[in-house]
């Protein structure tokens, strides 16, 4: 186990170096000057030179990257060019919003997708399966900016049960916090639950063809017990893999949801910073997403062993 962790740690460092270097290189390729962005249309040559010098923008690419990397090693991610807020502080402020959104959306989508997938697989081709398949396609083909607006219209405007937009921190008011995240989480969950349900259904159907399931049926086990106890776990490998990839992607990628619902999440911070050429915030965000990806997928790898003993024994 310790060896696995060490190997993963080495991979993590390598991935982070490559990803942050590429991100730094790519954002430097973008046209537009952060100093001009800060000054807007009102600066002159002297002001521009002053701001560029203050930000260290005249230094060579490698020197700036090395400076940033040196800071990261000592726990300093730098300070935003635009807002002057330390990058680590910005990310720490945004991360709880993103994590809450991710957790709640996964709970909702899995809470609905697992029963739906089981029900559909139990009688594949039946009426319920066809209804669930059609619903899944409907959810999959609806963009989040449409489903979000519709959910707001229904649950905030037509029946004012939930706030339409905005975010209340958990520490301020836990109930209001949950209410403020329910609609965005539902919007985010809608597309995911369709994917999860479809994936689980197809894997379950394959698993239900296995010999050990036939044996279980022959031994007189109930269909419910067979499904929940013997078929679900080995059928969840693909589902868990996709959840891992989803979580990694959503750490910085739930930006549309964050914009729609006015949530101050990590995705919105990164996208805004790209448009503002706020290099250090982008770098910090990329680092966070990369760490998130690696950590989540490491956890998923560990989970494989729990789900399927054959994998555990093989490793």
């Amino acid at each position: 186990m310790a060896l696995v962790v060490l190997r993963r740690l080495a991979q993590l460092i390598f991935v982070l170096l490559v990803v942050t270097l590429l991100a730094f290189w790519m954002i430097n390729l973008l046209p537009g000057d952060p100093a001009m962005q800060i000054l807007g249309y009102g600066g002159d040559e002297a002001a521009l030179a002053q701001v560029r010098a203050e930000l260290g923008l005249n230094d060579p690419f490698w020197s700036r990257y090395a400076d940033w990397l040196g800071g990261v090693v000592t726990g300093d991610l730098g300070t935003s060019y635009i807002s002057s807020i330390p990058v680590a502080e910005s990310l720490a402020d945004r991360l709880p919003v993103t994590i809450e959104l991710l957790v709640l959306s996964q709970v909702i989508s899995l809470g609905l997708a697992i029963p739906a997938g089981l029900a559909a697989a139990r009688r594949a081709g039946g009426l319920l399966d066809r209804v669930l398949t059609t619903t899944s396609f409907g959810l999959l083909s609806t963009p989040v900016f449409v489903s979000g607006v519709v959910l707001i219209m229904v649950f905030a405007v037509r029946w004012p049960l939930l706030p339409a937009t905005g975010y209340t921190p958990f520490t301020t008011d836990p109930v209001e916090n949950l209410r403020s995240l329910l609609l965005p989480s539902l919007t985010l969950a809608a597309g995911q639950l369709a994917v999860y349900a479809r994936l689980l259904r197809s894997d379950l159907i394959a698993t239900l063809q296995e010999d050990y399931i036939t044996l279980a049926r022959a031994r007189g086990l109930s269909p419910r017990r067979i499904l929940w106890r013997h078929a679900l776990r080995p059928s969840a490998i693909s589902l868990v893999t996709v959840i891992g990839l989803n979580l990694g992607a959503l750490i910085g990628g739930a930006v549309i949801i964050e914009m729609l619902f006015g949530l101050p999440g990590v995705g919105r911070l990164i996208v805004d910073s790209i448009f503002a050429r706020d290099y250090l915030v982008v770098q910090g965000g990329v680092l966070l997403v990369a760490v998130g990806y690696v950590v989540v997928n490491f956890a998923i790898d560990l989970l494989y062993g729990l789900l399927d003993p054959r994998i555990r024994h093989a490793s």
């Binding site: 537009g32 800060i38 807007g40 249309y41 009102g42 807002s83 402020d93 006015g262 503002a276």
Partner: protein, 546 residues
Amino acid sequence: MIHVTTRRRLRRAIPALSLTTCAILLAACSGGGSGSSNPTAPGGKAVPGGRLIYGLAADADGFNPNKDSFAAQTYAMAGTVIEALTAIDASGNWRPNLAESFKPAEKYTQWTIKIRKGITFSTGEPLDAEVVKANLDAQKASPLTAAVLAPLRGIEVLDPHTVQVHLTTPWVGFPATLAAQVGMIIPKSSLADPAKASRQPVGTGPFVFRSYTPDNRFVVAKNPKYWRKGLPYLDQIEFRILPDNQTRAQTLEAGGLTAMATLRDTDIVKFGKLADQGGYRMYRVAGMSVPEFAFMLNTAVAPLDDLRVRRALAHATDRQAFIKTLRSGLTKAADGPWSPDSKWYVPGGYPAYDLNQAKALVGEYEGEKGPIRIELLSVPDPTSMQNAELAQDMWRKAGMDVTIRQADQPDLIQRALTGNFSATNWTQFIAPDPDGEYSWLHSRFAAPVGGLSINMPRLKDPQLSAALDAGRGNPDEAARKRAYATVQQRLRDQLPFLWIDHLTTSAVITKPQVRGLDQYTLPDGSMGKALSGTPTHRFDQIWISR
């Protein structure tokens, strides 16, 4: 502000104007005021108390006037806490605010500013001449605002409540400039800690800062020690940052907001109908502070360095088609930077839509110099692209080869300032006084292509510049009107901009119980300017009807 629509764009855009735009106004008016508010607020008897939840499309970069670019949303939020030395009245003239009076001397190269006595910051620090000098010195030293205060030579403290400002050139409208960011006064403790001042604004204003969560909300509470007795009326204001136009409007409908700012014609149409039925109140910008939408042309590069091509473009551009198809018919066609309802406006002389005339000019030019190829820059949001595509279609019909190049805001800023463009979408000109546009149009600020040029069309027109100088240095209103009539005439002759419309779709929509937004008094008793720009307004005399 400059470039329309998405929140990031707004965030970066408005500062440009905000800095320079604080126009130059008529000199003469100065004087004191009682410092107390009108006991009977416009629109009925004001009721103290209540909370306003106000939706904004974008967040601020920071709230330190010496360090951060102030856009419309920054003025909304920080303006509740930090006050300026002057304010703009309903006629667009400057009035004393934190200052008690301004007295010009030496042909407007020297101004003596008397500061009101007895005002303190919410930290308890006194407002005095030393603080005002320290703020103006900091503004002069800041790369962000140094260009605006370029004529400022020095500041002298005459007594604890008087400073004297020395300028390098006559500047009639200097006090008007102090109504915006460069005139906003923060205490010495904030000057000493600029990073903290960026996030926790402190001022003398009607409200005191309570909390700020970036990209989420900014909360202020009533300042019980505010120097204008009886103000403000509201107990609390919560600004919510909601970047999506659709969901911001839905939040207002759902009751999550009591007011919101918008630039969308669809909001004007929808809430306008509801306002007619009493469901909402709507306030739209008017007069000099209305932004104009135009296409800015680079007059320093071929083929747009040839006036015939610029005239061909003007003749080929059907302004009514823009208004009908992209503004729901809500705006009026523009023929210059100032609205017809402004006292500075003079009509006439702008090329009419005439496709045949455009084709003839194109043929004449191409016969001499070859095909006309124009690259039109646009930020990649849908609204801006619709404007660009409509223009492309019109200009192609006149026989010109027009391509659209998408550029995000930082790229566009760089291209515009360094002259690396032919034509671009443009929204600007919200100064309440025409002198506010001085730097954008004067040939002194036009650098060769490659250099940094605030005069972005790079038009060097001696008559235009002379008229701008006359408007800046002469206190006589009739003389100024003549000067700015010449400015408008030269802009119509030389066409550095193809004017499209006055964007009166900039508005604030509120629930019906929100009152006093458009009518308020300044410390000297005069009525203040209602909405301006994209849009901004004051909050100290807003009240909630019960």
